[in-house]
């Protein structure tokens, strides 16, 4: 398709669907693996399915302006439910499927959802539990029939039945539906997404058709996305990124959305599909790399040597080739050989062979990890965004990719840095408002449309790329007045494969201390190779040799932090390895797996006090929530350790 297509009448997702059904009628729009086989739907079939569902919703009494909650894993029918709701004039509100009932209750009550579309019995059960308190819900529909037979169906429907009734009502309600679709404008709300909220209650971000469609158009053109592209939709549907990639960009460019069979089969499905456009948070890339490295440890010595040889060569040449920089013919030839022996098969195993564009965002990615993928010839780039911006604030253009920046402002986006160092932006994707929360809207978005990101950063001299340091509110001062940027140190720690998560404390204190979470995969595999027995995460985390390794890592980080004049005060003086993984079910992390610093600080106050008091060990009890919502207690005695800190090179020289 032409890259300069104008918006025209394409002012809603249903309008885009109609265009795609006409233009790409016989091309695949959705694929889902079910019963071991990839089932495909063309754009024309998709339109028919969505239409049947929309008519069915009308039969059930859905009205314009209703809020329709959608809860479940990524499945075509649930995406259709969103577009069907939009066709009727209602507003889809996708929810995190792993949320516990209480969290769900707040959101359902806040948006006043009349309809809830559930993926399966598990979600229906939660909604029924919530219904005792939340009275607005009138009808529930579910997709997977399993286990649902005995339920009271007076206000419950199987989605297939809804669609069947919809098809039957075509003559009666068809014209009405057409009118509703035609009435949609760029100013209508496209979707409402709840931010996972690192602090306080989630907020409903209202995004209009203009926000979504213009942003999708700009970003699709930025990366030359086209109708033949393939993506794998596996990230939570409640997350803005999934909405932009799997609905916004997919409907704008007409590429195909593939849904995995289940969460556990994701990696197999990734390989079978071989997407050309891919997004994953740094964690996923990290895990993939960890798995590759663990498996290489087990490979035969010859294979390992070939792998190591070509990988170290690729690290020099790969990124240059990708950026189109000049490379000698000998190196090119050797890279081609490496491609034959190592890079190609490796990319194929990972399912990344066909990637044209891959993005990562959400957290900082370790430079080694980033370079690993780039050196294989995978065009992995970074972007910076948030829900309120319909994702895109900055992104890296091809040929200007680095691990420590987040790129230049995306097309149509203006970015400025405030006096305080906080990043502000203004763009066509800027959200309309927070639902039922004018105070928060006013404090986030000013009259001229500038939005505060809450992140501190600066534009790099020369390249014009944005660099993010930390959350603006987390950047603090140490007792001696020097800068405290916990995220900066935590990221350095997390770049070690053995460390999954780290939380650094030190605001208004004279020195920093840290909590560490070990990575069970990496440390567990190390333990296995060294014949070290352990029966639980807790036991592994408390082993002396594990603590020794972590201590080495902490000291290496201190050494590197000490190089930076501004931040050398952030070196970690004492640390401990936590006896449990930080978990969203316990409220310690958001559903997108970002640490909730304040909550961790409150919950483990005894541990922080002990670290500062200089104790060697401490006994602690922690309440944990199991996946089914029950609570239990975890008891542990933790060892607290000192880490070596390093003087600032400049300061020492001055003293000499």
């Amino acid at each position: 398709m032409s890259t300069t297509e104008t918006l025209g009448d394409l002012c809603s997702i249903p309008a885009l669907l109609a265009r795609n059904a006409k233009r790409y009628g016989m091309q695949a729009a959705y694929r889902e693996k079910e019963f071991g086989i990839w089932q495909a739907w063309t754009w024309a079939e998709t339109q028919a399915e969505v239409r049947a569902m929309a008519l069915g919703f009308l039969v059930l009494g859905m009205r314009e302006g209703d809020y329709v909650a959608i809860i479940g894993r990524n499945r075509p029918a649930l995406y259709w439910a969103m577009v069907a709701a939009q066709s009727v004039g209602a507003i889809p509100v996708p929810l995190y499927q792993d949320a516990v009932a209480e969290e769900m209750a707040y959101v359902l009550d806040h948006c006043g959802a009349r309809f809830v579309i559930c993926g399966d019995q598990e979600q229906v059960d939660k909604v029924l539990e919530v219904q005792e308190k939340v009275t607005c819900i009138e009808e529930i529909a579910y997709l997977d029939k399993r286990g649902m037979r005995k339920y009271d169906h007076s206000h419950m429907n199987w989605l297939q039945d809804v669609m069947r009734e919809g098809r039957a009502a075509e003559t009666r309600l068809g014209a009405d539906l057409d009118q509703r679709i035609a009435a949609l404008t760029l100013d209508h709300t496209c979707v409402m997404l709840y931010t996972s909220g690192t602090t306080g209650k989630p907020k409903g971000v209202v995004l209009s058709n203009r926000n979504i469609i213009v942003t999708s158009k700009n970003s699709s053109e930025f990366d030359n996305l086209r109708a033949g592209d393939e993506i794998l939709a596996y990230l939570p549907m409640a997350w803005v990124g999934d909405f932009i990639f799997a609905i916004g960009q997919a409907y704008w460019t007409g590429f195909c959305v593939n849904c995995p069979e289940s969460a556990q089969t994701m990696l197999t499905d990734l390989r079978e599909i071989g997407p050309t456009y891919y997004f994953a948070p740094p964690r996923v890339f990290e895990n993939m790399l960890t798995t590759v490295m663990i498996r290489m440890e087990d490979a035969s010595p010859l294979k390992r040597r070939i792998f190591n040889h070509f990988m170290s060569f690729a690290r020099e040449v790969g990124p240059k080739l990708l950026d189109g920089k000049p490379v000698g013919p000998g190196a090119k030839l050797k890279y081609a050989l490496g491609n034959l022996l190592v890079y190609g098969p490796l990319k194929d195993t990972l399912g990344l062979r066909r990637i044209r564009v891959a993005y990562t965002a959400g957290e900082a990615i370790g430079p080694e990890i980033f370079d690993f993928y780039r050196s294989l010839g995978i065009n992995l780039k970074q972007l910076y965004g948030q829900t309120e911006a319909s994702v895109f604030i900055t992104q890296q253009p091809d040929g200007e990719v680095r691990s420590d920046t987040v790129g230049v402002p995306s097309p149509g986006v203006e970015v400025r840095i405030a006096e305080s160092g906080e990043v502000f932006y203004r763009s066509p994707g800027t959200f309309e408002s927070y639902y039922k929360n004018p105070e928060s809207t006013a404090s986030t978005k000013d009259a001229e449309g500038w939005v505060a990101t809450g992140d501190a950063g600066f534009f790099e001299e020369g390249s014009g790329h944005l660099r993010i340091i930390d959350r603006a509110k987390d950047v603090g001062k140490m007792a001696d007045g020097s800068l405290f940027a916990p995220k900066y140190v935590e990221n350095k720690l997390k770049f070690f494969p053995n460390i999954l998560e780290a939380v650094v404390f030190g605001n208004d204190r004279d020195r920093c201390v840290a909590f560490i979470n070990i990575d069970l995969t990496a440390v567990g595999s190390w333990a296995e190779r060294n014949n070290i027995a352990y029966s639980s995460y807790q036991e592994l985390a408390g082993l002396k040799r594990v603590l020794d390794t972590i201590q080495e890592h902490v000291e290496q980080v201190n050494q590197s932090v000490a190089q930076d004049k501004m931040l050398s005060g952030c070196q970690i003086h004492r640390f401990l390895v936590l006896h449990k993984e930080l978990d969203a079910d316990d409220g310690e992390m958001t559903r997108t797996r970002k640490v909730r610093r304040r909550i961790v600080e409150e919950k483990f106050a005894d541990l922080i006090d002990a670290l500062y008091a200089g104790k060697d060990s401490i006994y602690t009890e922690t309440e944990v929530t199991y996946e089914d919502g029950r609570k239990g207690k975890l008891k542990a005695t933790l060892e607290l350790r000192d880490a070596r800190v390093f003087g600032q090179p400049a300061a020492r020289m001055a003293a000499e």
């Binding site: 019963f35 071991g36 069979e261 197999t268």
Partner: protein
């Protein structure tokens, strides 16, 4: 037809339909040489119910299960199945009568993939002869498709898609148990026998297994007979419970009735002799 209790069944509190009598044990006695494993036991199994057999170690539970499956033929007494007295059978006849089972010690083909293991459960649904199988011709490929479809439904039902192609030997214990259940279900049994389905599992695996047993019963209406040591599981899952001790039946009834039975308490907890 022999006369059995001729009532039509009932509806349980949670809305499941329990049918008439599927199998009746009449005065069963089973001996191995001089050892009497089962002594004069009678009880029945109704269509659609979950029937548990419990008892201390060595009570004769597994022997009882083998009698139900037809693998053991009791020296005395008779088994009435689907209204007819069951004769002594050959092993292949046992397999064809619609009773499938899982084993206390997992009995899967370790070197084969999960998928292939479950496919073996469909063996008696395949009619193609060896030549057709070898040449992948005619009926053989058609049958493979039909049976694979059925197997995929079971894989989906038991949520084991992610290990479809994994060799069984590489699986953890809990999953192996689930694969065994899948293979038993693949045979589309009218009666499903589970020999200690939760043995050696952790709490989470037990919860999963319980859910699957209930779902299987609910979704396919499969009559289920299970042996289990975990009292909590038995009392929560089953509609009726038979209690055995030293080869004798000492209790029979709903979980509540059994729980209050003096003999059962004595067998499980012992009594003070003062």
């Amino acid at each position: 037809m022999l006369d059995t209790q001729s009532d039509e069944g009932y509806i349980t509190a949670d809305g499941r339909k329990i049918g008439g009598v599927a199998m009746e044990m009449r005065n069963i006695t089973l001996r191995f040489g001089g050892v009497v494993a089962i002594k004069d036991i009678s009880f029945d199994i109704r269509w659609g119910e979950i029937r548990a057999i419990i008892g201390p170690n060595g009570a004769g539970k597994s022997s009882m299960l083998n009698v139900i499956s037809g693998f053991y033929h009791p020296q005395e007494g008779e088994v009435i199945y689907k209204g007819y007295k069951r004769p002594k059978m050959k092993p292949y006849q046992v397999a064809r009568q619609g009773i499938a089972r899982t084993f206390q010690n997992i009995a899967l083909f370790e070197g084969m993939s999960v998928l292939d293991n479950i496919m073996t459960g469909r063996m008696h649904h395949m009619k193609a002869n060896m030549l057709q199988q070898a040449l992948w011709w005619g009926r053989a490929s058609r049958e493979e498709d039909e049976n694979r479809e059925q197997v995929e439904k079971i894989i989906d039902f038991l949520e084991i898609q992610h290990i479809r192609k994994t060799p069984v030997a590489r699986l953890p214990y809990g999953l192996k148990k689930r694969v065994e259940l899948a293979r038993a279900l693949a045979a589309e049994p009218s009666i499903l026998l589970l020999d200690e389905p939760m043995a050696g599992m952790n709490v989470e695996e037990k919860e999963d297994m319980c859910r699957f047993i209930l779902d299987v019963n609910d979704e396919f209406g499969t009559t289920t007979v299970l042996i289990e040591h975990d009292m909590g599981v038995v009392m929560d899952l089953s509609d009726r419970v038979v209690v055995m001790d030293y080869g004798k039946k000492i209790g029979d009834g709903t979980p509540d009735e059994v729980r209050g039975n003096e003999d059962v308490i004595r067998a499980y907890l012992g009594v003070s002799h003062d």
